[in-house]
Symmetry: C3
Subunit: 164 residues, 3 copies
C-alpha cells in the first residue's frame, strides 16, 4: 500500500480516538483531559447564545461544567466520517446518542451530529472547531441546540398507503 494510504489509516484512527475520548471524558466529567482534545483557540458551538458557545478550550472547559447539573450521562459515538484536506487538516462528521439523567431520575436523550475541523499538531490531532446539531431529542431535553436540516420532499409527494 502506498505510504500515503497507510498514513491515512493511522490518522483516521487517531482522529476516531479523539472523538471517542471526548465522549469518555465528558461522561466521567474529566474536563481537564477533555479540554486537551481541543486547540487552545478552538471555537465550539452547540447552539445560539453565550451559554452554548465558547472561544478557546479554557472557556469550553468552564462552559461544560454545566453538565454537572445532570446526575449521570452516557455519550455513544457512531457514524464517523473523516475527509482529509492536505496532511495536517481534516474535516469530520460523527453522530452521538447522548443520554442524560437528572437529579430526580428524569431522563433526556439527544440524537446529535458533530461537524468538526481537525488540525495535526506536534502533540497529535486536535479539534479546531466543533459545531453540534440536533437531529432529534425526546421531551426531557429542552436546550436549544442547532437543528439539523434535511431536504424537503419533491413537489407532489404523498405518503404511501399501508405503512405504519
Amino acid at each position: 500500500m502506498p505510504a500515503s494510504d497507510s498514513r491515512r489509516l493511522t490518522d483516521q484512527r487517531d482522529i476516531e480516538n479523539l472523538l471517542v475520548d471526548y465522549c469518555r471524558y465528558l461522561d466521567r466529567m474529566d474536563l481537564d483531559s477533555l479540554a486537551d482534545l481541543f486547540l487552545p483557540d478552538a471555537q465550539v458551538e452547540y447552539g445560539e447564545g453565550p451559554l452554548l458557545r465558547s472561544e478557546g478550550n479554557a472557556a469550553l472547559r468552564m462552559s461544560l461544567t454545566r453538565m454537572w447539573r445532570w446526575k449521570r450521562t452516557a455519550h455513544h459515538l457512531s457514524n464517523v466520517r473523516i475527509w482529509f484536506e492536505g496532511e495536517e487538516t481534516a474535516r469530520g462528521e460523527s453522530s452521538v446518542l447522548a443520554w442524560h439523567e437528572n437529579q430526580t431520575g428524569g431522563t433526556a436523550i439527544v440524537w446529535g451530529l458533530y461537524r468538526d475541523l481537525f488540525r495535526l499538531t506536534q502533540d497529535g490531532w486536535r479539534i479546531a472547531t466543533r459545531r453540534m446539531e440536533m437531529q432529534g431529542a425526546d421531551s426531557g431535553f429542552g436546550v436549544p441546540l442547532y437543528r439539523f436540516e434535511r431536504l424537503l420532499p419533491e413537489v407532489g409527494w404523498t405518503p404511501p398507503e399501508g405503512l405504519g
Copy 2:
C-alpha cells in the same frame, strides 16, 4: 505487513464509509446520493411485500421516499463486521439504531440488522444486495420488517432466581 493485509484494511474502511453514508444520506433525505451507494441492479429487501422490496437502485430511491412521512430520523450504525470473499466481493453485517419522529411528535425506535453483499466496482465499493432484519422495536413502529431469529434455550432451561 503483507500487501494483502494492508489492502484489506483500506477496503474495510471504504466499506464502513459506505455503510455510514447510507445512514447519513437517509437522515438528510439525499436520496440521489443514497442510490449511488448501490449497484444499479441492487436487490434490497426490508420485509415482505412490494412496499418493502426493490430491484435496482432507481426503484430503491423511489421506495425510500416513504421516509418523508417521518418528520425527522436518526440512524446510528454500529457492530460492523466484514468478511471478504476474494478481491472484489465481501459480505457484511452491521447494526442500526433507527429513531423516527412523526408529524405529531410521536416517535418510533427500531433495533435493526443489515446483511449486505458488497462488490468492488471501478468507482469503489457498492452494495449489491441488502436484507434488513429487526431485532426489536418499540410500540411506535408498526412496519412488518423481517424478524431476526435467535437460538432457542436448551431443553430443561429455567430462569435463574434473583435477577430482575
Copy 3:
C-alpha cells in the same frame, strides 16, 4: 509506515471484531461461539455476587444462559478504545447500549461500559478479563451491575441559569 504501526492497525481491527462478535453472539444466543471469544480461564464480572461473576469461559457460558429470560435483545457497541501493552497484551474500553425485551413486552435499556484485558493467542486475540460497569439504565432494568463513577463537581459549583 513502520511495521509496528501496521501491525497495530491489524491488531486493533481484530480486537474490535472480537468486541462486536460478543454482541452478535449474545443477541443470537450462540453461547458456544461467544465462549470461544474468551480465554479458558477468563475472569468476567458484571457485578457483585455469584450470579454476575464467572471464572473460566465454560462458567461464563453457563452463566449467560440467564439471558434467555429475555425474549430478545440488541447490544450495540461503540466508543472502542484500545491500548497496547507489548505485542501480546492490550487493554480496552468500549460502550454498549443494551436493549432487552421481556416475555410480556416490557423493555429495559442499559448504558454500559466494558473494561477488558486482551491476550494474543495462537488462535488470535481473546478476552482474558472483563468487568462491566453501568453508566445508566431505565426503570425496566433491576440487575445490580457495577456502577460507573464520575468525578465530582468542584467546590462551589452551581448550576447555570437558563438551561433546561
